[in-house]
Amino acid sequence: MTSLTVLLVLALITLAIIIVSSRDMLAAVIFFSAYGLVMALVWQQLGAPMLALAEIVIESGIISVLFVVAVFRTSKDDAE
């Protein structure tokens, strides 16, 4: 458990609180993507590079895109 890991975990907790308390859906999705990146770094620190790669690709990349599409689809303000 290095100091970097502690820092990353603190960042994760902060990001999670931001995501849950955010009123703006789009902001929440973008913070969720950032959460995925930090989580991938944590996996790498814990010695699981394969999981880190999957985390970056899926959570930060694909899930964010799908969520953005879903947000634009469901919220009235953005759908014109």
Binding site: M50, A54, V57, I62, L66, V69
Partner: protein, 235 residues
């Protein structure tokens, strides 16, 4: 009163769950059943028995290939459910131009980058046995290439390049391919998905084939999900 009742109920459930957690083996204890029964065998014999340097891939594709097949079926079910509820985009439809034309800089950059993305995806999928990565990650990277293309050149262009008729073929093939590959081991007298009886070179080929099957399933599922969602957005 109802609030108090629900609060008490939730507290009770929480206490029950916490008690259950206390009964579980302590994480990281060397005397845990998970650390004494199968894991030592995987670590000491896995690399030799499976010819895979990446132990995660070795376990996933050999010892746990049934589980992997179950995952593929689960992913396929997700795709089938999304298709059943939301449906495909219509084939005959007037092209709707993009609301904002992307700058030529982005387009040309992507035209140069996309081949490298595809090569990287194939590298990650094929080298799953020897380095970080695997079929799942490679397939998802490949799907992200399709999504990037659709975001920059427009959804209609993406539909033209990768129409629904082609997607149906790959979606159907994805799980079927995995199962057919598993059936191959019946011909040499083994059980379903048991690749132990093949010689080393054939076995390597089969492992590669399974990786490609996983990549195909995950990639086509995510790409199709994106198409389905975008189609709903346009209506």
């Amino acid at each position: 009163m109802r609030k108090l009742g629900s609060f008490l109920f939730l507290t009770l459930i929480g206490l029950f769950l916490l008690l259950t957690v206390l009964e579980m083996p302590i994480m990281g204890d060397p005397a845990n059943p998970s650390n004494t029964v199968t894991t030592p065998r995987y670590i000491s014999e896995g690399a030799r028995e499976t010819n895979c340097k990446n132990l995660v891939s070795a376990i996933m594709l050999n010892y746990r290939s049934y589980d992997t097949m179950g995952e593929m079926v689960a992913i396929f079910t997700v795709l089938a459910a999304a298709l059943a509820i939301l449906g495909r985009e219509k084939a005959k439809r007037g092209l709707s131009p993009l609301k904002v034309e992307p700058s030529p800089l982005i387009k040309i950059t992507m035209v140069i980058y996309i081949p490298f993305f595809i090569v990287f995806a194939c590298y990650v999928a094929i080298n799953g046995c020897y380095s970080v990565g695997g079929g799942f990650q490679g397939g998802v990277i490949l799907a992200s290439v399709i999504i990037i293309f659709a975001l920059i050149f427009g959804f209609d262009e993406a539909v033209k390049k990768f129409p629904a008729s082609k997607r149906v073929f790959f979606e159907g093939l994805a799980v079927l391919y995995f199962m057919l590959l598993g059936l191959m081991s019946l011909f040499v007298g083994g059980n379903f998905l048991n690749l132990n009886l093949f010689g080393s070179p054939v076995r390597k080929l089969f492992t590669l084939g399974l990786e490609i099957g996983i990549g195909l399933t995950s990639g086509i599922t995510i790409a199709s999900l994106f198409y389905i969602l975008k189609k709903v957005e346009r209506e």
